[in-house]
Amino acid sequence: MLAETRMQKAAKRYKTRMYLKRYWMLYAMLLIPLVYFIIFKYVPMTYIQVAFKKFSITKSAWEMEWAKNSGLEYFIKAFSNRDFLYAVRNTLMLNALGLVFGFPAPILLAIVLNELPYRRFKRITQTVAYMPHFLSWIIISGLALQLLATRFGLVNIVLRNMGLEPIQFLDKPANWVWTYVFLGVWQSVGWNTIIYLAALTGINPELYEAAAVDGASRLRKIWHITLPGLRSTIVILLILSLGQIIGSEFDRPYALTNTLVTSVSNVLSIFVYNYGIKGTQQSLATAVGFFQSVIGVIFLVNANLIARRFDERGLW
């Protein structure tokens, strides 16, 4: 018995050695991204503790003193701050609206492009549609001001010359929200189409041919073949977007805002910038960032669970 297991163990050790001898290069290559992630992602992550400590510029995160209330001082400070609560509300509102309008838009565009028989027109449209993706929000906000300002914006000059009332796109909070959402869709729709178009090329053309033989109309084909073909892509992208529901970009709201609409435009990233960076409350900023990450992970995991329950593959 004993001799046998010993022999088995030796055989196993031999096998492992042979395996490593054969494949060590693959593991060595894996080391490069691993080291990258350790150095640039995991080591900086140790600075999350700044959220629980009293920040000092001269000390490392390990040496800083713990914050009051067993380290939770800055979380209490954030949650008892009305601006923070408004920022949470605004972030959720703008992201939810962005999701409702921004998420289906590229799917629709991809399907429409896919149905176009004239290929050159399709290509040109696609290129034109994804160009705005390369514009920074600073440039877009400049364009928005030149086009949409009430007195000297081009759109309103045209409206006025047509005898219509000008629209205050940027200086009424309600209007501003729609301008913000619309500009977001406009900027990203073309770019997000690319991934759907790639998925569409993966659908077996025989399916369409068979449906045509059966007499299916164009809409029926879209409903029964195209959309099911895109389903897993849609689900994965939806899970990823839900993971960012409380995350917020900085440059977009920062560039588009003005003093009249701060009641809806102050999102978490702006809060972090105003209180944390400009107000040099680094611990508070880190605490808010940490909070955002935790909520993001919760949404991501739950969305993934739900997707798997509905028989989709999910992210993992």
Partner: protein, 534 residues
């Protein structure tokens, strides 16, 4: 063995900690000069001025040469981009690479870093070396102790001196007044009537472009762009240092009476006297500024010489190009307070905040540098340059700047403001001489315009003194947030309808006060009363 090692290590630690202090003592300083060459690094703002190198020109050479000859101190300049200096200072301090002599406009940052031991307490050094620093004390005067904490006696920084305290002026279109047969406004009522006259006579003043008429223009920085108007609503008794200390705000927004001023602006706005989209244009927005240059604007409040600055790019020059020779802005001074005085806020005598980071191992050499800079002949040379190259004298003996286009004699900033860190603004040693020289310093602008503007800006000006009762704890980390909230209150209130004005203002103020404004006010009030009584 272990014990021995521990002893050895701790001795090493003590020695290494002591080393800088030992070096700082002046045993190498004999008869006003170091026996061995010391090296200090000095910060200098870089504005990317075309045609000059900020840390390598005739003037930096002059400093280096003289410091080496007089004190045996070698000076190494370190540049910091002017427009990001507030953030860069933090990075330098964190990395331990801040210049031995550093300066910034961000005094809040110095206080934060001082508390984190990244900035030296200057007081012990000043006390020890005071005898070598007579020129510095003479020139800066009370600015030396501007930031000395009265309770702890610590000095975080010393404060550069601002020579020219002119701040904000009201400008109106002279040619429009003439066309409408109006006199220069001398009261708030006349100014308002003038704006209505501009609005109602747009056809006459602008012809085809009548729909572009803007009687009064501003940006979202209302507190600045209507400062003289709003300050005239502050009762005269509240224009003292005391109330500036208690209701502290760099736009004087918290002072009693300001609300009524904003109410007037609200009425103006709803009557179409103010640029409709002003809130969409952030301070410094080129679009708003171009409206001035294009000739659509009747009146503005801006920096005291703003419309005359920048030669070919100036409002003055561009306006004349587009609307003809007569189209000019002139400074007026109509806004009187309840005592009938056109009081307005001038700058105080403080400018940049100069500090030594805790990595500075040559405090004496650094202080000597500042003292050298404070000597008149050195300042004078650095501000005016070489006769025949940087300046010349007119027949009546007024110094006239003639800036070189490029080369080693070109100053990288006007009057070398970035090189001469302890002074902001020309100083020829005589106030009248300086003013006359300044009036000659604007290309394409007749000196009379400058003289009028300078006189108007200083007329009944209030230059607040410094009341230093230590750091205000309630302000920490919240001051910038409150400044943003202030701008929101002002903008939203002016944009409200006349009926809603009170409700909008009051809710905005309630938010401002609840977000920390009240706590600051209370602390300042209490500190003031504790120090001076009721």
């Amino acid at each position: 063995m272990k014990k021995l090692l521990a002893l050895l290590l701790s001795t090493l630690l003590v020695v290494s900690v002591m080393a800088p202090i030992a070096m700082a003592a002046d045993d190498g300083f004999v008869d006003g000069k170091f026996t061995d060459t010391r090296t200090i690094t000095v910060e200098i703002f870089d504005r990317n001025t075309e045609g000059s190198v900020v840390d390598d020109n005739v003037f930096t050479d002059y400093i280096k040469e003289n410091m080496l000859n007089e004190y045996n101190v070698e000076v190494v300049f370190q540049t910091t981009p002017r427009w990001t200096e507030g953030d860069d200072i933090a990075n330098y301090l964190a990395a331990g690479t801040a210049s031995d002599i550093s300066y910034t406009y961000n005094d809040g940052a110095i206080h934060t870093y001082f508390q984190q031991d990244a900035v030296l307490d200057l007081q012990p050094l000043l006390d020890e070396y005071k005898d070598y620093l007579t020129d510095l004390y003479d020139f800066l005067g009370s600015n030396m102790t501007w930031k000395t904490d009265p309770y702890t006696g610590q000095t975080e920084c010393i404060v550069a001196r601002r020579m020219n305290v002119a701040r904000i002026n009201t400008f109106v279109r002279k040619d429009w007044l003439d066309k409408l047969g109006l006199a220069v406004p001398t009261t708030t009522q006349e100014f308002e009537d003038m704006l209505y006259a501009f609005r109602d006579n747009a056809e006459l003043l602008l012809g085809d472009e009548a729909d572009k008429m803007i009687p009064y223009s501003m940006t979202d920085d209302v507190g600045w762009r209507a400062n003289n108007i709003l300050y005239s609503f502050v009762p005269d008794e509240y224009t003292t240092d005391k109330y500036n200390f208690i209701y502290n705000d760099d736009r004087q927004f918290l002072l009693p009476g300001v609300k009524e001023g904003v109410r007037m602006l609200n009425k103006w706005y709803n009557d179409g006297l103010i640029l409709q989209d002003f809130s969409l244009y952030a301070a410094g927005d080129a679009t708003e500024y171009n409206l001035l240059k294009a000739g659509y604007v009747g009146a503005v409040e801006v920096n005291w010489d703003d419309v005359y600055r920048n030669a070919e790019e100036s409002v003055h020059y561009m306006l004349q190009q587009s609307q003809g020779e007569d189209a000019v802005f002139i400074a007026v001074d109509p806004f009187k307070n309840d005592a009938g005085i056109t009081k307005k806020v001038n700058y105080s005598s403080n400018d940049r905040w100069i500090f030594f980071p805790s990595t500075n191992t040559e405090p004496l050499a650094s202080l000597l540098y500042l003292n050298w800079m404070a000597k008149f002949e050195n300042r004078f040379f650095l501000q005016t340059g070489v006769e025949g190259i940087n300046h010349e004298y007119t027949e009546d003996g007024t110094l006239k700047a003639i800036p070189p286009e490029a080369g080693r004699y070109k100053m990288s900033s006007s009057n070398n403001i970035d090189t001469t860190m302890i002074i902001n603004g020309l100083d020829l040693g005589d106030v009248d001489k300086t003013a006359a020289s300044m009036a000659l310093g604007y290309a394409y602008v007749a000196p009379e315009f400058i003289k009028t503007a300078f006189a108007a800006a200083l007329n009944n000006g209030v230059s607040y003194g410094n009341i230093n009762l230590g750091a205000i704890a309630a302000e920490e980390g919240i001051k910038t947030v409150l400044a943003d909230k202030r701008d929101v209150v002002l903008n939203v209130s002016i944009n409200a309808s006349v009926e809603d004005f009170d409700a909008v203002w009051d809710s905005g103020m309630a938010d401002y006060m609840a977000s920390g404004g009240q706590a600051i006010l209370d602390e300042r009030m209490a500190k003031y009363e504790a120090a001076f009584g009721e």
